[in-house]
Amino acid sequence: MAESASQPHFGAPDDAGGGREGEITRRQFLTYTLMGTGGFMASMLLVPPLRMAVDPLLKAGEEKPFVPVADVNEITDEPKRFEFTLKINDAWVKNQATTYSAWVYKEGSEIVALSPICKHLGCTVNWNASPEHPNMFYCPCHGGLYTKDGINVPGTPPRAPLDLYEVKVEGGKLYLGPLIQRT
C-alpha cells in the first residue's frame, strides 16, 4: 500500500488542508486507515480458513515402526514379494490396517528389502514381469526398469533407485522399518 502516496485518485492535493511538503493529507490518512481496517477485517475472515486448508502441509508425518515381515529362511537369492500390514491413521479413519509390500532377497549374507513403489510416478514394480527384460524390476505404467539391486536403468522413466527398507533380523524373523531414499 505504501506506493499509493502517488495516487492521483485518492490523494488529490487540493482537498483537506495540510499540504506542507512530505506531509500526508487528511484524505490519504483516511484512505490508509480505512484500507488498514478493511484489510484487518478481511484477514480475520480469510486467515482461519486458509490455515485450516494448509494444515496437512504443516503436520508432522508419523514415524514408521519396525514390523515382522517374514522368516529369514524363506528368503533366497531371488527377489520375493512379502506383504505386511501397518495400522495407520488416515485423518479421521484411525488405526486403519494398510497393506505394504517389499521385494526381499539375499545378497551374500545381507538381506535387501526394496520398496515396490516406482520412483517415476508411484506405480508398483514387479520382479521379472516383462518377458523382454528378464531379471529386472519392471513398472507396467510407463515401462520403468530397475536392476536387481533397485538401481534405475538409464533411458527408462525413473530418475532414482527404488527406496530401501531399513532391515533388522531378530530371532530368525525379518523386521522392516522406515524407508531410506537413495539418489
Binding site: M1, S4, S6, P48, P49, R51, M52, D55, A91, W92
Partner: protein, 222 residues
Amino acid sequence: MQRIYNWLDERLDLSPIWRDIADHEVPEHVNPAHHFSAFVYCFGGLTFFTIVIQILSGMFLTMYYTPDIVNAYNSVKYLQTEVAFGYIVRGMHHWGASVVIVMMFLHMLRVFFTGAYKKPREMNWVVGVLIFAVVLGLGFTGYLLPWDNKAYFATKVGLEIAETVPIVGPYVKSFLAGGDIVGAATLARFFAIHVFFLPGLLLLLLAIHFILIRRQGISGPL
C-alpha cells in the same frame, strides 16, 4: 498497486464496472453519518456480508467434511479437534448460520416498518421472501450434516412436521429423506441440497434482489 490497476484499467476498462457496482449516491436518510438511526438500513448489507462468510467458511469445511453416515461425525470431530483453526472455521459457519437469520429478520422488519415494500418494490419483497425461505432451507439442511444426536432428531422432527402438510406431506417427507428413514440417503441428499442446490438458488435470487434495488433505487425517507 496504482500502476498495476492503471495497466489493467487501460486494457480492460475496469473503472465503469467498478462504478456500476459500488460508486453510487447514498441518500442522506439512509446514511448513519447523518442520522445515526439510519443504521437500520445496514441490515440488508450485513445479511449479505454474513452470507459471504457462510459461503467462504462452508467451502473450506467441505475440504474435510464427508457426507456419509459412517464418517460424517468423525470427519467433523477430526476437523474440530485435530485440524489447526478447524474449530474456528466451523465456529464461523455455526454462529454465522444464526447471524444470517437474525440479520435477515431485522432487514425484513426494517423494510416492513419503513414501508419500503410498497409500489414499485412489491416484486423485490417477493424475491426477499423467497430468499428467506432458501436461507431457512440452508439452515435446516446444514443442521443434519454433523450427524450427531441433535442433528438426527432435529431432522426427524423437521421431516415429521413436513409430513403433516395435507395431501403432499408424506411425499415431501419421502423426497427429503430419500427413503423411509433418516439415514444414509438422507444425509447424502441434505448435503447436496445444502452445498449445491440452495446456494445456487440463493445466489440467483440475491442477484435479482440487487439488480432490482439498483433499478428501483432506495425508497424515500419516512
